[in-house]
Amino acid sequence: MTSLSAKALNHKSLNEQIRAAGKEVELTDVWGQRFIAAGLSDKELTIHGTPGNALGAYLDGAVINVCGNAQDAVGDTMNAGQINVFGNIGDAPGYAMRGGKIYIQGDAGYRAGIHMKAYKEHIPVMIIGGKAGSFLGEYQAGGVIIVLGLTDDMKKIVANYPCTGMHGGKMYLRSRCKGIHFPHQVTTRIAEQKDLDEIEDYVREFCSIFGYDADEILDADYTVVTPDSKNPYQQMYVAN
């Protein structure tokens, strides 16, 4: 394990040192440096402090543990790997991610999982332990988004306008979602056992990482959201 202090390092030199270090790297004194681990494939990073925006952008297989909060655009266009955030996360995590996992213990900001995709064996998974902000899963085209709503506050499990433009993938919200408005092009229903079977492994992994009782968390009503069509714009045009 290499230990690196990020103190007084800008993102460029910090990333150079991470790339030059061994397989396991522990970063301390991280004060908002952006782009940490961009495109990284073969390392395991533990981050103490607060990493800045675009943590793990284009991530290609590395594992990142953030011991604290993370900021915006975490895992942008991520291809493979895993990011575990032991805290809250900012806006647009997992933008267009195609593979890998982002597990967030706390809440997520706006536009989490926006335009998340899937491709062959790549099924991206995002689990938000707390509550999600507005525009969750906007344009979702694939993958799995799970919100557990474990934080004990009065907020709804997801704020306004979830699933706008959704045309692929599946969303699970651990709630009956009363009073939450979904757009017309998606279908919502209460999860059956076979739906829950699809996510059980992910939820168990999440619980073992963050120390929750998986059985207890799985034993609840989940709302499943799926799009009605993967071709939402088919009828919109006339050739001219």
Binding site: A57, T77, A96, Y119, N231, N240
Partner: protein
């Protein structure tokens, strides 16, 4: 049957004396216009389906066919033109948004055609490019502000990453999906031979084309299709697509029907799923946010590749470009409102954006005024049609030009403007394997190389007649340009004098 009020756009004139009933026209038409009637031993046509692509005309062995504009006329009306009326019928029939292809065909001014080039006479000798070396090579990328020396007094020669082009012309972004495998292969191989670059567009990069990486610009658009580490590493430069001249401010939808096995693989999305590029990048709301995407790409690729930011030419383009030049981008690409597209809503294509000539002139001036012109190279597209357009663009301040429609024409496109149908009879804007075969990539490459080799000669001739032997010395040299038939405001924006001045 309900009347739909439409009339065919074209008439097919078949010379029955010449027609030998060989049925080539029938076999060649993907739109099923022609058919043979054995009872009457006659070829018939359904003119409603004709798009005037000229495939049958070119292949008819006896030259028996002509396609003409339908001479049937609605009652003349200067306000309600025939097309305007027919568009209303179409929308009333279907409720659909009008969808068109290729660049804006409306009669807006083409400023290139109102600008004339200077020549040396008597006092400043012209140069004969057949006898003397002429330099058309350009380097695109950030240039240093000053010369610096290290502590031993040695000149610091480390430069930010640059693209080296043998001529100031690159092939503009066209995705695999909007155009065919063979069209992409033609562009990639031609770029390699010519010493320039082609651009993947937002559709990812086919595995067969990774070998042309040093001649490839890989694009990152709002949908992030096919974007991953190897893709970013594959290209010589990375282009962030913020906008496109044909449809500024909106995204793109590749319909699921066009997402077959191969397209699904390069875009890295499931087969049959719509490929939706949202209008904005969801993480870019400001120049600071743009800077974040620029640097995330630089970090992911070790600062080895220039990052291009492509925007559509719109009203405040000078201010926008000034922001981009401060975002860390190495190159700004500006796409004028006449730029082509595989599909765009007609109203947007024909009414949004501004001419590239005016955008280029004002951006170049603004960046010079602010002392940041060397921060970025400028690449312009959106209807560069000839070597003289390139010369005029360079003299207005461009470092290089992007061409796409011209390249497609070289490949046999006849500008029928129905790319959106996916039934391109020339094998260019289609994914139908039978149609794709019609474009031979070796022949396509040769035609592209021929066209640009000819343009290069013409560029050298025009440089020579101005007494300029290096394209770098022409850049921003507006003294070499004069306007004709332009008003004072237009001349002021273009920064040129009127002919005779």
């Amino acid at each position: 049957m309900a009347v739909n009020y439409m009339i065919p756009s074209f008439e097919i004139e078949r010379n029955d004396y010449r027609c030998i009933r060989c049925r080539v026209c029938e076999r060649q038409c993907a739109n099923s216009v022609h058919r043979y009637d054995p009872d009457g031993d006659v070829m018939l046509s359904d003119e409603f389906k004709c798009v005037d692509c000229q495939r049958c005309v070119c292949l008819c062995p006896t030259h028996a066919l002509k396609i003409r504009k339908n001479e049937n006329e609605l009652r003349e009306n200067a306000n309600w033109k025939q097309n305007t009326i027919l568009e209303i019928y179409k929308q009333a029939n279907t409720g659909g948004v009008l969808l068109s292809s290729m660049g804006n065909p409306e009669p807006f001014p083409v400023y290139w055609d109102k600008i004339l080039i200077n020549a040396s006479q008597v006092t400043n000798p012209s140069i004969d490019p057949l006898r003397e070396p002429m330099e058309t090579r350009v380097f695109l990328g950030k240039k240093p502000h000053d010369m610096t020396r290290d502590k031993n007094g040695k000149l610091n020669t480390e430069l930010p990453p640059q693209l080296e082009l043998e001529l100031p012309i690159m092939f503009s972004a066209m995705s695999y999906g909007s155009i065919s495998y063979n069209a992409h292969k033609s562009l990639a191989t031609a770029a390699e031979t010519l010493g320039t670059l082609y651009n993947t567009g937002e559709g990812g990069l086919h595995e067969d084309f990774y070998q042309y990486g040093k001649n490839t610009i890989v694009q990152v658009a709002s949908g992030r299709f096919g974007v991953y580490k190897d893709y970013l590493e594959a290209g010589a430069a990375i282009e962030i697509k913020m906008g496109q001249g044909a449809k500024p401010g909106i995204g793109g939808h590749l319909p699921g029907a066009k997402v077959g096995a191969d397209i699904s693989k390069t875009r890295m999305i499931p087969e049959g799923s719509d490929a939706i590029s949202p209008a904005p990048h969801h993480d870019i709301y400001s120049i600071e946010d743009l800077r974040q995407l620029v640097y995330s790409l630089k970090e992911a690729t070790g600062y080895k590749k220039p990052v291009i930011v492509k925007v559509a030419a719109v009203h405040n383009i000078a201010a926008i470009a000034s922001g981009i030049a401060r975002s860390g981008a190495d190159i700004i690409a500006i796409d004028g409102f006449r730029g082509g597209t595989g599909a765009a809503p007609t109203r947007i294509r024909d009414n949004v954006g501004i001419p590239i000539e005016l955008a280029l002139a004002s951006v170049d001036k603004r960046l010079r005024d602010e002392g940041i012109r060397q921060n970025v190279s400028l690449v312009v597209g959106g209807s560069i049609r000839s070597a003289s357009d390139v010369i005029k663009a360079v003299a207005l301040g461009a470092d290089a030009c992007y061409i796409a429609t011209s390249a497609l024409l070289a490949l046999g496109c006849h500008l029928c403007r129905t790319c959106q149908s996916g039934k391109c009879n020339w094998g260019i804007a289609t994914q139908d394997p039978e149609l794709v075969k019609r474009l031979n990539p070796e022949a396509g490459k040769e035609r592209l190389v021929n066209m640009l080799t000819a343009w290069k000669h013409e560029i050298k001739e025009m440089m020579g007649l101005m007494g300029i032997n290096s394209i770098e010395a022409l850049r921003g040299n507006r003294m070499m340009l004069r306007g004709v038939g332009l008003n004072e405001k237009e001349l002021e924006i273009l920064g040129i004098s009127h002919a005779g001045e």
